[in-house]
Symmetry: C2
Subunit: 245 residues, 2 copies
């Protein structure tokens, strides 16, 4: 895990002018990229930053369009997907608070990003961000490490999509999501599900109905409890067994 040492130091740098304790931007950035920055570099980042609030189901950016910005999700969550011409949809990931989008700095967006709920986003112009990187090689290095991690996650997802049963897919999904939430809210058993069953299905290569049936099955088996906002994991060992690598 990344240390959060730089989280409270540069209070005044938050682009929206609030104290960090109130500012989701400053609060979460300690979780990922910005903890690698020196104060002067943070300042440079913040000069570029623009804080934007999106409503539910709004599009941050679309597949194939020219990439304009790098995004840091500071609150809310986002679905990332590709569409086939006939309407089939594959969700390639979900972005949670603290996650970055567009760090590969490619010219065009590889997928569409839509908010699942109201969301706050810290946006940096791609070109300016790219220039900053050229001036700060160690930041680029950090970025490259993050890209390697992302690639590794994508390959794990290939295993899930290609070689796991419906029940294993849902179990792996819940475990994976729980671990990501743990970094954000510290909970070891709660996994809020801001996305619909349809979204989960499009992420796992299943239909809504199958996702629903597998969730019901896991609940019947006392592995999880389904709550209005997501699930609580009753038997992580059982889920772990279903999703073992």
């Amino acid at each position: 895990m990344l240390d959060s040492g730089s989280a409270d130091a540069p209070l005044t740098l938050c682009p929206n002018g609030k104290a960090s304790i109130e500012c989701s931007h400053c609060k979460v950035r300690a979780l990922s990229l910005c903890s690698a920055l020196e104060p002067d570099e943070l300042e440079a980042m913040d000069k570029l930053a623009r804080h934007v609030v999106f409503e539910k189901h709004q599009t941050l950016f679309s597949q194939s369009e020219a990439a304009e910005s790098v995004y840091n999700i500071t609150a809310g969550s986002v679905r990332l997907f590709k569409l086939l011409p006939d309407g089939r949809r594959q969700i390639v990931g979900f972005a949670l608070p603290g996650d970055f989008l567009g760090l590969s700095l490619s010219e065009r967006n590889a997928f569409t990003a839509e908010t699942l709920s109201a969301a706050s986003v810290c946006q940096f112009p791609r070109v300016a961000f790219s220039d900053l990187l050229d001036a700060k090689p160690h930041l680029l290095r950090r970025l490259h490490d993050m890209a390697g991690h992302e690639l590794s996650l994508a390959q794990d997802q290939m295993v899930i999509l290609g070689r796991r049963t419906a029940e294993e897919k849902v179990a792996s999904f819940l475990m994976g999501l729980r671990k990501r939430w743990a970094r954000i809210d510290g909970s070891t058993v709660r996994a809020p599900l801001p996305m619909s069953r349809q979204d989960i299905g499009d992420y796992l290569g299943l239909t809504v109905e199958t996702v629903s049936r597998m969730m019901t099955k896991l609940a019947r088996d006392k592995a999880i409890v389904i709550t209005p906002d997501g699930v609580r994991l009753l038997d992580p060992a059982r889920l772990e067994a279903l999703s073992e690598t």
Copy 2:
């Protein structure tokens, strides 16, 4: 496509001492990473390089082991896969001549790499390569761009695994492979298949039998011709339609 301007200039730098026209190392590196290098940087690279020949079905490196090297495949091809404890296998990619492995520079290997045929590999110690990058930020930048491209390919593969039928999967696979061979041998219709049907199945989330049936179907429909060493694409338009994004 990358230009090959630096392909023939630094002839003497080839680590195995042959002239470039005979040296698969020098011939292929123009295709990817090394075309971004200045002569002095190429020299630095070559000082690190070790040229190794592997036999068929040998392991280059294994999943979870400490990553020792960066690899440039100069001849032959390689399968990259992850295993589940119960033996299910997901191939996450195939490496062809000119491809690099281990450029993410992570501490541990994310997958196992095994040769499909006899293969020549140019190997660089990971740590030394990493140090070189720290000294050459523009090379790191180039690497990061390549990582972004790889991530994008991984996401395309997620769409194939999650949302395509067996026939579409096989068609996309053949088209994708043909495009990669085109960069190597220039052919627009030939797609050699150094991997077995089992390998293709483990790449596409299918069984051997289904792969075989779909190949037969495509051949019956006059979209491809099956040859001893691979396939010839008779009707690329039909295959394209099956694999349209």
